[in-house]
Symmetry: C2
Subunit: 235 residues, 2 copies
């Protein structure tokens, strides 16, 4: 069943955004009494369409969460196609929060005039990927922070090309009880020593991802796949 995130709920009616209504009417060609899944406030409902395309609550569904871990991905701003891929795939792979950071060697700088437009585009990608992945939440995205301002709880990891010994695997094995994990990935040219030092001072652990040489947009997908895998419970 098609899933949509609602903007609001008034009694037993949900308010969807215009894109979703267009999708229901014109793309999916749904009719009166057709059913959809609606998520509102991290709860899932089965709803039916009324004749005027109002969305009426039929029943509430109890859901599992995908993972009990809260995963924050911290990345520099990248070119549009790479950003789009990372956002879509990160939502599929269970990320909770994405923070964009300003890094010295970032090739792409945020154009303040276009920042709001970009944020709307990114939130749309995250919402659509979350619907497709049947999530009951949408990852948040915070446009630009300085690394010195990253005050995070839990396990904090920075992927470093300078680190040769301490592997992601070792750090995850030794810290399997954390339910909040933040992972920072640098730009194509890597982090500067100064940036790594600031992060280490703020409690980040440097790790190597092993011998693979990946494009910058592949690294978040690699890391999030592993975090999801490590949170799988083996029966």
């Amino acid at each position: 069943m098609q899933r949509y995130f609602a903007l609001d709920k008034k009694d037993d009616l949900f308010i969807l955004n215009d894109d979703d209504l267009y999708h229901i009417k014109t793309v999916m060609r749904m009719k009166e009494n057709d059913q959809i899944e609606v998520v509102f406030d991290k709860k899932l409902y089965i709803c039916k369409l009324l004749h005027n395309y109002q969305v009426k609550l039929l029943k509430k569904i109890t859901t599992d969460t995908f993972t009990n871990k809260q995963i924050t991905l911290v990345i520099p701003l990248l070119k549009e196609a790479k950003m789009d891929l990372i956002l879509q795939k990160s939502a599929e792979l269970g990320v909770s929060e994405i923070i964009l950071v300003e890094l010295e060697r970032s090739v792409v700088k945020l154009d303040q005039a276009k920042a709001n437009k970009k944020l709307i585009r990114w939130q749309k990608i995250l919402k659509e990927a979350s619907e497709q992945s049947k999530r009951i939440d949408i990852p948040s995205i915070t446009p630009i922070k300085k690394i010195a301002d990253l005050k995070m709880d839990g396990l904090k990891i920075v992927c470093s090309t300078n680190e040769k010994e301490n592997s992601l695997k070792k750090v995850l094995k030794n810290n399997c009880n954390y339910d909040k994990i933040t992972i920072l990935i640098g730009p194509e040219g890597g982090l500067t020593n100064k940036e790594e030092n600031i992060l280490v001072t703020n409690g980040f652990i440097k790790v190597t991802l092993g011998k693979l040489i990946m494009r910058v947009e592949t690294v978040p997908l690699f890391v999030l796949s592993i975090l999801s895998y490590e949170s799988m419970v083996v029966k």
Copy 2:
């Protein structure tokens, strides 16, 4: 240093293909005496350019392999953009071999008239991704096999939406000594029961990938990330 796979070697000169020569001359604007890395027959060499753009061997370099595991990915034919993404990322994530299989619920069928053209395109993507990832081999791609003809050695895994208990993690933990792993991923609509039965009869183990709901092109990236991670040695 830029890396290229050579077509051939004659004494101490390497033969590159026309695309690579174009890249060297026109994209990278390299000149006489500039150095490049050349891979031939799974060996890595440092070479210099002669005045006529001949590629002369300077020295042989000893390389580590990324992983001692031989990983075969078996997937149905998918739409072009999805195939391109999977091939590029699979090469980055260390795949050895890709086999395309004919599956009942595949949406895309291989047009035999275009098969050769497609194969050339796929091989080009794999070669370029292997160069960028500093591999010393290029993953092979086998166009279309029937699943009954998949005669593989080693650990054989099929990702199944019907399997609820036996997780990928459990199977990898219980079979960590295999150095050859084949993993089969079905189409959007999943494998049919008949297909799963043929695979199980041929020694494939059914696994669940957990609770994430991923687009079909994300699944190979997820699985290959995990296989690479599991082959990391923890010091």
